[in-house]
Amino acid sequence: MPSNLRVILPLLVLAALAVVFVIGLQGDPRKLPSVFIDKPAPAFSLPELSEGKPVVTPESLRGKVWLLNVFASWCQACVAEHPHLLELAKQNRVELVGLAYKDEPEDTRAWLAARGNPYSRIAVDRDGLVGIDYGVYGVPETFVIDGNGVIRYKAVGPVDEGFFREHVEPLLAQGGK
């Protein structure tokens, strides 16, 4: 390497990093990419975790507001989120559907058995293909889908107490449309 480039290189790396950071700081890391908002929820048909139950499809949930929670037994942040989901399930005001993402069904079952099962239906997305359709980039994520089958909100990372109040209740108040 010519010695000019050798001595300048660290400076160039620093400059490049600084530019990326400045751009990166403009966005809120917890905010979702807007691509999926107000678009119809992509269709899928996945087996249900408990054997014997019918397959899970978004069409079968038409007409009501429902939440699609992407989780996995290997996901650490899901443990933090879990008590909130159990609380949500207890209130029973909205259908909570789980998407077991890239997970072995027996692992998912053991995980839920140990922590309690908040979901009314659980779709098994073993190879993560549905996750790709939904633009899942990290687990957990939670999609809020209205009665027309349109994605209205996407929460990245664990949901908290404020999530239901801010993003689901207004929708229920409007009658889910």
Partner: protein, 684 residues
């Protein structure tokens, strides 16, 4: 009143540091300065700013301990129910408070340097001090303008919001101070390098002066990372101890750079080689410490433990980072262009092995950095978010760092400059024996896994290489067989720096073995247990669930599980008592795992939630989710980090650093023969 006084002290410290360093640097630039007078002034400024920030820190601590909720910082991070030791620790639990701590440590390091650097060449010492005092001014300015810990909240609130319960743990109390001691300590190495550039003193002396400081900083950082990791192990309840989370990576990156730095400094000190590399690594280690702070505090990356984040502060830290590091790199570009490669060395020599170590460490650093920042790059370029998980890090880290263990085994016994290939034979034989032993070990434990065997062999050969070299060194010093010199005298002759290296390298050996065993043979079980039920958890261990009751802590209520752990026939019984705590102020639920530590295995139990099958279940029948882990050799990982850190601290005691300093001050071109004679010893 106290809050205003604290703010005043910080402002006074800012004025002192800014004026002194500005005036001195200006004088230096014009080439008209009296080095001794400058040193006196800068030392006074260093002590003044240290006592001013110490005063401010104690005032903030007082505000926390007395629960003064008219101060915003206190109201947001403390609570009257908090036990008093955590009220005190909450002083640095928030972003603002932790920056005050950062400043206090920087002032502490500078004051220590002012005290202990009398032996340095006066002109050089003045530059080092001026740079550190200027850095203080930067950070104090940042604190006053964008994260003032003394900001008032008027009217005051009756009750505070509480300290993040995750931080309410004795080890978490000392984790940030240790980590910061490391981060800030690299500022000293940075100042040494930049001062060397300013003075065009690119000879081995600056490296020798920098070594004990860099070693101490590295050791503190090691302790800080160890405490953070151990805390995650006990507190998060996930059984893991390293998650490749951005916040963890932020502390690992300066550690890797620091590891490369302390070895590179040794080469520059001993052989006058790798000069511009060493300078660059000094700058990079500190730049990464700043980057770590930026990543953790700006919220530019999402993390499971994103604490207080604020993008505005992010811009501020980023500008400061760019300014400080940019200025140093400009100087680096201007001053190192024409320096040669320094001392030459052959392909097989101690230098080449140390260089290989540097390259592996830097590659590992690059890999961690890429993995940590990739989501950000991807988002900036394509607008899509994505994440990089442990599989990536494990896939790149192992092939980069495992060879380092084998190289480290041979490096200390290689000669400087040129080593005859034939002399490597004992090492080759030892490697073969260790590989055979490791294969046997793996086969005893179950199906053969070649990566496990390679890891164990790496640890074994490293331990052998280190101890064998020490034995050889001691034998060489024995002298006349008729009148052998006493062992203790010979050990002393080798010097603290040598024994520190031996200790640290043995630590690395233990680490490699520990990690290999944990990663290859850990067992994880998710169980559902009813009271009184006993379950086999493997290797002859049985776990009996006695029950769950409620206990009240000072600021939480806990569900307190009791388990009996028995081995074999059941003659030995251990009690394990994991808890689930609900903290009252924030209503967060925290898991306290219970761990039975052992030399060869940890058994780790964490309490999940009750499983409500049917509403009619009586409380006694309630089944609970229970997570059990069997972690072989886990303790080795912790002890290994302790050994590495201790090794680093021991090197600081080496008389050679202090001796040399006074000698060099007297006659600047001290003869190198003495240093080289000692080299067999105090290598890397």
């Amino acid at each position: 009143m106290l809050a205003e006084l604290g703010q005043l002290l910080v402002a006074l410290a800012l004025a002192t540091t800014l004026l002194t360093s500005g005036q001195q640097l200006w004088a230096m630039q014009r080439g008209r300065f009296d080095a001794d007078a400058a040193n006196r002034m800068l030392s006074v400024a260093a002590f003044t700013s240290f006592f001013l920030t110490l005063g401010a820190f104690l005032l903030l601590a007082t505000l926390f301990v007395s629960s003064d909720f008219s101060v915003l910082n206190v109201a947001e991070n403390s609570n009257t129910l908090l036990p008093v030791q955590y009220k005190f620790a909450a002083t640095w639990g928030s972003h603002e408070g932790s920056f005050l701590l950062w400043n206090l440590m920087l002032c502490g390091w500078t004051a220590a340097l002012a005290l202990a650097s009398r032996g340095l060449a006066p002109g050089y010492r003045a530059r080092v001090l001026a740079i550190l005092v200027l850095l203080q001014a930067f950070f104090l300015l940042f604190m006053l303008s964008s994260s003032n810990p003394f900001e008032r909240l008027l009217p005051a609130v009756p009750e505070g919001r509480d300290l993040n319960p995750l931080l309410q743990d004795p080890f978490m109390v000392i984790h940030p101070p240790m980590l910061y001691m490391g981060y800030v300590g690299f500022a000293v190495a940075f100042a040494f390098a930049v001062a060397a550039l300013m003075e065009r003193r690119l000879d081995p002396t600056w490296a020798r002066w920098s070594r004990p400081w860099a070693n101490a900083a590295w050791s503190f950082l090691t302790v800080g990372i160890l405490l953070g990791s151990w805390w995650a192990y006990r507190e998060l309840g996930w059984g893991g101890w390293w998650f490749w989370d951005p916040v963890e990576n932020a502390s690992l990156m300066p550690w890797l750079a620091g590891t490369a730095l302390i070895h590179s400094l040794a080469v520059t000190d001993k052989r006058d080689a790798l000069k511009s590399w060493t300078i660059l690594l000094s700058i990079i280690a500190f730049a990464l410490s700043l980057l770590g702070t930026f990543l953790v505090r700006s919220g530019v990356l999402t993390s499971v433990h994103a604490f207080a984040t604020d993008p505005k502060r992010g811009i501020f830290i980023l500008s400061m980072l760019t300014l400080i590091v940019g200025a140093a790199l400009v100087l680096y570009a201007a001053r190192t262009r024409d320096i040669g490669l320094g001392g030459r060395f052959g392909k097989l020599s101690r230098e080449s092995f140390l260089l290989a170590n540097n390259v592996l460490m830097s590659a590992a650093l690059g890999a961690v950095m890429l993995g940590t920042l990739y989501p950000l790059f991807a988002e900036v370029i394509s607008g899509r978010k994505m994440s990089v998980g442990p599989p990536y890090f494990e896939a790149v880290f192992v092939p980069l760092l495992l060879p380092a263990a084998y190289l480290m085994a041979a490096a200390p016994s290689l000669r400087w400059k040129e080593h005859a290939a034939g002399l490597l034979r004992p090492f080759a034989i030892a490697t073969g024996v260790c590989l055979a032993l490791a294969c046997g070990w793996v086969l005893l434990l179950g199906p053969f896994k070649w990566l496990t065997a390679l890891g164990l062999a790496g640890g074994l050969v490293l331990a052998w290489g280190t101890l064998d070299h020490a034995r050889g060194q001691l034998a060489k010093l024995a002298g006349d067989p008729a009148q052998p010199i006493a062992l203790t005298a010979r050990m002393r002759r080798l010097g603290a720096s040598y024994w520190g290296m031996v200790l640290a390298h043995m630590g690395v050996a233990a680490f490699v073995i520990g990690v290999t065993m944990v990663k290859s043979y850990e067992v994880e079980k998710d169980l559902v247990m009813k009271q009184g039920q006993t379950m086999e958890i493997g290797q002859g261990w049985r776990l009996t669930f006695i029950g769950v009751d409620r206990v009240n802590g000072p600021n939480y209520v806990a569900q307190h599980g009791v388990f009996e752990l028995t081995e074999g026939a059941g003659s030995v019984i251990y009690l394990l008592e994991p808890q689930k705590r609900m903290y009252q102020a924030g209503r967060q639920v925290m898991t306290e795992a219970s761990i039975n530590y052992g030399v060869f295995r940890d058994i780790y139990v964490s309490l999940g939630d009750p499983v409500e099958n049917k509403p009619t279940d009586s409380v006694a029948d309630l089944a609970w989710g229970v997570r059990v882990y069997m972690k072989p050799f886990m303790v080795w990982v912790w002890l290994a980090c302790v050994m590495m850190a201790l090794g680093g601290f021991v090197t600081v005691l080496d008389k050679r650093y202090r001796l040399r300093r006074t000698q060099t001050a007297a006659s600047s071109g001290a003869d190198r023969a003495g240093a080289v004679a000692n080299t067999g010893a105090a290598g890397a």
